[in-house]
């Protein structure tokens, strides 16, 4: 999940770059740049969430599962 978030972040960056190249209109460009930043923040949120999941201790009953 952490890596998924980290992969989403460049997507937002490329959205921002695409906005610069594709839209000469200032309003459209600004909208897409804001969307790009929003996608990056979403990716960062997912990465943070993934980090938290990694920190959560493994439940006691799951640790020995499959070994007996």
């Amino acid at each position: 999940m952490k890596y998924a978030g980290l992969l989403v972040m460049p997507t937002g960056f490329f959205l921002t770059l695409a906005a610069l190249i594709l839209f000469p209109d200032a309003g459209m460009r600004a909208t897409f740049v804001v969307c790009g930043v929003a996608v990056e923040l979403l990716g960062l949120g997912v990465a943070v969430r993934g980090h938290m999941e990694r920190r959560t201790p493994e439940p006691e009953h799951a640790r020995g599962a499959g070994r007996r």
């Binding site: 952490k2 980290l6 992969l7 972040m9 460049p10 997507t11 937002g12 960056f13 490329f14 921002t16 610069l20 190249i21 200032a26 460009r29 600004a30 740049v33 804001v34 790009g36 930043v37 996608v39 990056e40 923040l41 990716g43 960062l44 943070v48 980090h51 938290m52 920190r55 201790p57």
Partner: protein
Amino acid sequence: MTTPAPVPPFSDALFALTLGLLLLAPLAIAGVALLNTGLGRSRSAAQSLLGCVTNIGVAAIAFAVVGASFAGAPGHAVRIAGKSWDWIGLTPLLLMHFNTLRPEAQLPVLFEFLGVGMLAIIPWGSGADRLRLPAGCAITAVLAGGVFPVFAHWTLGGGWLERLGTDFGLGAGLLDWAGAASVHALGGLSALAVVWIAGSRRGKFPREGLATAMPGHNAVYILFGCMLAMVGWLAWNVAGAILWLRVPPGGLAMIAINTVLCAAAALVATFTVTRTRFAKPDASMCANGWLAGLVSSSACAAMVNPAEAILVGAIAGIAAPLLVELLELALSIDDPSGAISVHAVGGLWGLFAAGLFAPRPGQVVGQLVGIATLLGFVFPLVYLLFTIVNRVIPFRVEADGERLGMDLHELGGGAYPEFVIHRDESYR
């Protein structure tokens, strides 16, 4: 290859003033180093401060050997959609060309040379109490030899972010005149990558209950570091304004005043927030608030009036303690120096505020493109590079070393040999 914009000649007096300011700027690095040390544990204090010094040394060498070559102008550009995208500098290695530059063109190189020293100690502070010295040096080499130079070329060396204004009509391009993006935001985001890879300190997040409080060991270091940092920051901001914005002498005093106002407003805001939440003001949080104000001033002190400077600083000062708490208690991110809240968030907020208050149309979009580049390209790249470095030179010290303390484990002696060092159990 693109040719750099001609540098207008400096008068001798202006050259001497800028050089003098740049020679004072390392006081900011010294202040942050003291802050990092004070916010860590007493049993890692010597390793922390030694790490700051070695990281600055490695940063200086890496930047001089290869970094300055990638950061400098002229650069290499590719053409996409009819526009020139200047992405990397192409000057000789080992600063071979430095003596051939005119004096006023040497000063920006010195500015970046000092900036990389500040950048080097920001992630080091976040890895306090568990990050090994060799790992700190390797991290610094990657940042100073590769990531910083390329990004600094984009923002300061005539690269595509600096040219957003001329190429796309976005204000004056990304405004990074005092290193808010290339030094502080980059340093703060690198700190997040280091913390994620190295993990939290032993016993910080127990299996049950809240995170363990591990307060800084020396409030005097922390607060004196703040005062020292302010002197360096004033020099840094004024020198940056002369070099990158060509602010005339009549506008320099206002930049210094705005710098102090940002820091002061941030301190008052943090003081108020911590007093409201905990009934008493928290010294280390107040120090972080002060620093967050200074960091945000690096982005906007030249673009705002005093009232706006107070507003920008106050928001940075409110955000810093709340974010420190959020990161630690809700998001399980163990950042002893608060670099993520102070440098990353303070820097990004300052960059946005600079766009918001700058008089040029399109400036806020230009600043957002810079923020998007930091979050969407630079941060994942830094995380990837650090993950690779961690495979070769492990970031985290062995469990036994962490238990003994980094001073004893890595240096063989403590910073305070005559004092009792607290064990882990004392934090519970």
